[in-house]
């Protein structure tokens, strides 16, 4: 099934694009998708998302269908859902 992934700020810069489609297996969880995203791109993106472990860095936010979802929640994705991976910004 298809999932649309959108990126913001430094995550967008590291991914090199603002949105892309992913083909994932039926029953794919949000965690599996984010790991797939990190594997697909070069090391910069992985170092932002997973700097030192298999756990997503706590400053990175996830949204599924415009709703925040915590990394610790086990969420199964539905076909054509939009997942946003957000990195915090603080420019004043």
């Amino acid at each position: 099934m298809k999932i649309v992934v959108e990126y913001t700020a430094q995550v967008k810069k590291a991914a090199g694009l603002s949105r892309e489609d992913f083909q994932v297996i039926e029953g794919c969880t949000l965690q599996e998708l984010v790991k797939q995203v990190a594997e697909k791109h070069d090391a910069t993106l992985k170092s932002i998302l997973f700097p030192d472990s298999e756990e997503l860095h706590p400053s990175i936010l996830l949204f599924v269908a415009d709703q925040q979802v915590l990394w610790s929640e086990s969420l199964t994705l539905q076909p054509d859902q939009v997942v946003m991976i957000l990195s915090p910004i603080s420019g004043g």
Partner: protein, 252 residues
């Protein structure tokens, strides 16, 4: 009687066109006149927030920003002027705000917010607009927002992107719910056009006006994100963390 200080004839004349806004009216204007707002800092974002709030007739502004005006400020920090290069930023800001609105009461503090000064400075105001470029400053204001139960407008930008939300103690989570840990990737210097910081500054000023006057619906429990590179806008639901180390521990 609203219980708020009545407008003078001069104020009625200056604010006439915004008093026409439905659900705002003269009562909304009186609430702004009675209100005090902290804007920290007065850079690309805070300059525009302070300027719009001064124009809208907020009674008192407390502005906090350390340092002197530098050439590299002038592409976006609209309260800083060329003739004030090398002189304190808050002096330039105060002068510009007074030119626009001589009725405005201003307290200009030549310091950035930190854990040590945040409590005293936040005590002076009803609402905070957080325009700080560093997360530790933002966390210091967030803590006081929660402790003193004062609304906090969080606005930030990077490159052509921006994020904006409004935290209202008791009704929403807080900045530590959104970002529980100081993001390691963030650097003090960031790419910025003044038109981007100005856009989010105007939006943050409007959030402040709405919260103070009761107009419309503020961005409570929602994060607005946009990218002016391709004009995409998103408004997403954000959550209060049940284990938040700030609002779940400190709120009375």
């Amino acid at each position: 009687m609203s219980g708020f200080p009545p407008l003078t004839n001069e104020e009625r004349a200056v604010y006439e066109w915004q008093i026409w806004v439905p659900e705002f009216g003269e009562a909304g204007q009186e609430k702004l006149k009675d209100a005090s707002v902290l804007v920290s800092r007065c850079g690309g974002l805070g300059s525009v927030v302070a300027y719009e709030l001064a124009a809208a007739g907020v009674g008192k502004l407390v502005i906090a920003h350390a340092g002197n005006v530098k050439p590299s400020d002038l592409n976006r920090q609209l309260l800083m002027t060329h003739d004030w290069l090398g002189k304190p930023r808050v002096e330039s800001a105060e002068r510009r705000l007074k030119e626009l609105n001589p009725r405005l009461e201003i307290e200009a503090i030549p310091e950035n917010i930190c854990e040590e000064n945040a409590e005293k400075i936040v005590q002076k105001v009803d609402l905070i607009v957080d325009c700080a470029p560093l997360f530790p400053e933002r966390y210091a204001m967030n803590r006081q927002s929660v402790l003193q139960r004062k609304p906090l407008i969080e606005c930030a930008m990077y490159d052509l992107e921006a994020q904006l939300t409004t935290f209202i103690p008791g009704q929403t989570g807080c900045l530590a719910c959104l970002f529980p840990h100081d993001p390691p990737a963030w650097k003090r210097e960031f790419p910025v056009f003044g038109a981007v910081s100005g856009t989010v500054g105007c939006m943050a000023a409007m959030e402040a006006i709405k919260v103070l006057s009761g107009l419309g619906q503020p961005l409570a429990n929602q994060l607005l994100m946009f990218d002016l590179r391709d004009m995409t806008f998103h408004r997403n639901r954000i959550m209060q963390r049940t284990e938040c180390s700030v609002c779940k521990k400190l709120e009375i």
